[in-house]
């Protein structure tokens, strides 16, 4: 299989702080790869090393078959990057920035540019200093998505977007995937990774702790559920896929695996449901639950 990104044993120190501690990452060509981790885990540092903006202290990394530090300029023609914190030149308009970045990359597709401006509802005639944070992000996103590149590196791309724009974004990424483009998507929102990624790598404290397809990592996709019932819920403790069950009178709270949700809901419906609320877990919840124990044990 053709690999777009291979990184082995990456180490990066900033003074006495160890940002990356032996990171291994493998992204196959044509897949959408989610890169998940809490704030400060090393996601942005990894992306910057892949772009040749930082040099790793040790370890090996290959991007699109080349060395990102020495071959940066040729590789960048085939890559597009959206940073986490988008900075733009205040006196240029959004349209000018999109064109500039596109030209510096080697070309923009004008029909895609127009289509993206419509879909993301962005006014290109406003100066960038007049944009909100979300709109600045849209400028960088449009500049990246409108170019004809093989690899997209996106650092928390939807952090400032409203739900409407976020769904436009997801639609677009799905289309990119159909075209055969590789996408490395860094985020701390599990739901987004769930919706888009083929495979996922989870980073913590500068190392990858889990990698695989979401189906393989089923145990991270649990839903938190709180229900008030008409009767007392019992007989539920033995149910497969049910975790951390807590019953208080007729109210129960628990975490349930995605596959077991259906079974649990039919059981609850048979008891009689007054109110129900479900919440998908954020990555922070997971880490607090799964990995906090490893530091104490």
């Amino acid at each position: 299989m053709n690999m777009a990104i291979i990184a082995t044993g990456l180490v990066k120190n900033f003074g006495s702080a160890r940002a990356l501690d032996g990171l291994d990452l493998a992204v196959a060509a044509g897949e959408v790869h989610g890169f998940l981790g809490p704030n400060g885990a090393g996601k942005s540092t990894t992306l910057r090393i892949l772009l040749g903006l930082l040099k790793a202290d040790s370890g090996a990394v290959t991007v699109l078959g080349g060395n990102p530090w020495t071959d940066a300029v040729e590789l960048h023609r085939r890559m597009a990057y959206v940073p986490g914190d988008v900075a733009l030149w205040p006196s240029l308009t959004g349209g000018e920035v999109i064109d500039l970045l596109g030209r510096l990359r080697g070309g923009l597709n004008p029909t895609r540019r127009k289509d993206l401006l419509d879909r993301f509802d962005l006014d290109p005639t406003k100066k960038t200093r007049a944009y909100s944070k979300g709109n600045r992000q849209k400028v960088a996103l449009i500049a990246a998505l409108a170019s004809d590149v093989e690899l997209l590196l996106l650092d928390e791309p939807t952090a400032g977007l409203d739900p409407l724009m976020e769904s436009s974004f997801r639609e677009y990424i799905r289309e990119e995937r159909v075209q055969g483009r590789t996408v490395l998507l860094s985020s701390h929102i599990l739901a987004e990774a769930e919706a888009l990624s083929d495979r996922v790598s989870i980073i913590r404290n500068g190392r990858i702790v889990e990698t695989g397809s979401l189906a393989q990592m089923r145990h991270v996709t649990r839903t938190s559920l709180t229900a008030t019932l008409r009767g007392v819920p019992d007989g539920l403790t033995g149910l497969p896929g049910l975790h951390n069950l807590a019953v208080d009178g007729t109210t129960l709270t628990c975490e349930v695996d995605a596959v077991a949700l259906d079974g649990l809901l039919s059981r609850l419906a048979s008891i009689g449901v007054v109110s129900l609320s479900c919440q998908p877990p954020t990555l922070e919840d997971l880490f607090l639950r799964h990995y906090a124990s490893t530091t104490t044990s």
């Binding site: 000018e96 970045l101 406003k126 100066k127």
Partner: protein, 506 residues
């Protein structure tokens, strides 16, 4: 600022030892319209303070005005742009507290500078009453400009525009004073001077009557303008200005294709402002050069100018001295352009550029080209306008080339300073702005070295000391070649180091 005042005062005391020498100098200055426009009138030719500090009364007040404006804008508009104000505003802080805090700092600074200057003047032996009048006139003028900058910060959406408005009004007020002095009589300036805060400061007439009552004007104006600023601040939203932003182009023009095109687009506004300023500066220099013979009527004064200019011919020495001063300004310009590199790296703009297919060396070179090319163009402009102005006065056209040469000969030294800024950016990016400190040290060495008679080895530390003082002196190519090689070396070092280091934002 305080140091310069003290030094000028003590030098002036040595220069104008007799009352007659002062009267002569004053008569010459008051007699030349260009001098009066630039420096203002001397009101009491017998007073040592009034005569020797003539340059500082107006120039110094203008400098203070610049400092005050930039302080206020930096602490209000720039902080808003950075979002830091938003962070504070969300905390338990009044909306106008930020403006009040910025003003307290700036007004306080003005008072401190004024007081220290007064004390320094007293220490050099000038009368106490006059010294305090001088210092307080400076402080009051600075405060008025701080107030104007406060209003400017409320009106526009960007720090750059606010600075432009504040500094533009400073220029306007300086010009109003110039007109008032030239059009008016020897005792009273025309009404124009009374419309200008710089005019007010000057009319306090420190050491020449000490009209402290005039201080009421700047202080009153400050209070009124500040009230306006606070009213405006209370009515606008955070981050917005009262003047709306103009819409721009939806697509990028063809010139915005390369890093150099972008660098030029970002720099062209300020650059044009500098060109206009240099046209005026060159024109004034050329004009004054023709009449410097009548201005310097005492041997001591002529000696001073000769020492500063490095030649025996008075006109040439004056021109050489002015171009040396201009060269320092040009070096300052090149530092502002070169430090843009660090600003872009810190803000994340460099990251975006370098994530595209742009070489690091290309991006760096784009800004360095503007710095070096811009400095070259400015030197040419200064030389040409001075030469042409002089030719118009004297009717001799052959000297224009000489004037251009005298200005352009400083370029290798300016390039060295640019190279230094780039080398700092490559090796010690966090310390990039210490390039300013180096320039200030060099400036003081040059200005005061001649005045105070520092040893030769100290004055040789400045690259400007090695430039042949044209016209009048022989042209020596060796120092220019060495300086150019040094500049190239520094630039290369900066580029090579930048290619191998990480991009840091901290």
């Amino acid at each position: 600022m305080v140091g310069m005042t003290a030094a000028t005062s003590s030098a002036g005391r040595d220069l104008f030892t007799t009352v007659t020498s002062r009267i002569d100098a004053a008569a010459a200055i008051n007699g030349s319209p260009s001098f009066v426009a630039m420096l203002g009138r001397i009101y009491d030719p017998t007073s040592l303070g009034n005569t020797s500090l003539i340059k500082l009364t107006t120039f110094g007040a203008a400098t203070l005005g610049v400092v005050a404006s930039m302080l206020v804008v930096r602490h209000t508009r720039r902080e808003e742009e950075n979002g830091r104000l938003e962070l504070l505003g969300a905390a338990v802080v009044g909306r106008q507290a930020a403006l009040a805090a910025a003003l307290i700092v700036t007004l306080g600074t003005m008072l401190v500078i004024g007081a220290l200057t007064s004390l320094a003047l007293v220490a050099t032996g000038l009368p106490t009453g006059g010294a305090w009048a001088f210092g307080m006139a400076w402080a009051a003028t600075g405060m008025t400009f701080a107030a104007i900058a406060a209003v400017a910060a409320q009106l526009t959406m960007s720090a750059r525009s606010a600075n432009a408005i504040a500094l533009g009004s400073l220029g306007l007020f300086y010009a109003l004073r110039a007109i008032g002095d030239t059009v008016g009589t020897a005792d009273e300036p025309a009404i124009w001077s009374w419309l200008s805060p710089i005019g007010w400061g000057q009319q306090v007439r420190a050491f020449a009557g000490d009209r402290v009552g005039v201080l009421g004007y700047p202080i009153g104006a400050t209070v009124v303008i500040l009230a306006v600023a606070f009213v405006l601040a209370s009515r606008r939203d955070l981050g917005a200005g009262l003047l709306p932003d103009r819409a721009g182009a939806p697509m990028a023009p063809p010139s915005l294709t390369t890093p150099l095109g972008l660098a030029w687009r970002l720099q062209r506004g300020p650059f044009l402002g500098w060109v206009v300023g240099y046209l005026m500066l060159g024109f004034l220099t050329g004009n004054l050069a023709a009449s410097v013979g009548s201005f310097a009527s005492t041997d001591q004064l002529r000696d001073l100018i000769r020492r500063l200019g490095g030649t025996q011919v008075l006109t040439d020495a004056f021109v050489a001295y002015m171009f040396g001063f201009t060269a320092c300004l040009t070096a300052a310009y090149s530092i502002t352009v070169a430090l843009r590199l660090r600003a872009e790296e810190e803000s994340g703009l460099a990251e975006q550029m370098l994530a595209t297919s742009v070489h690091r060396r290309t991006w760096l070179a784009s800004h360095v080209t503007i710095a070096v090319g811009g400095a070259t163009v400015l030197s040419l402009v200064a030389g040409l306008s001075a030469g042409i102005a002089n030719a118009m006065r004297t009717g001799v056209g052959s000297d224009v080339a000489g004037a251009v040469a005298a200005s352009v000969v400083y370029l290798p030294a300016i390039w060295v300073i640019t190279g230094l800024a780039v080398a700092l950016f490559g090796y010690l990016p966090r310390a990039s702005s210490s390039a300013w400190g180096v320039l200030v040290a060099i400036f003081l060495l040059d200005e005061l070295g001649a005045l105070l008679g520092l040893p030769v080895w100290a004055r040789d530390l400045s690259p400007f000391a090695h430039i042949p003082r044209l016209p009048g002196n022989a042209m020596t190519w060796t120092p220019l070649v060495i300086l150019t090689a040094l500049a190239l070396g520094l630039l290369a070092a900066g580029v090579l180091r930048f290619r191998r280091r990480d991009l840091t934002t901290a």
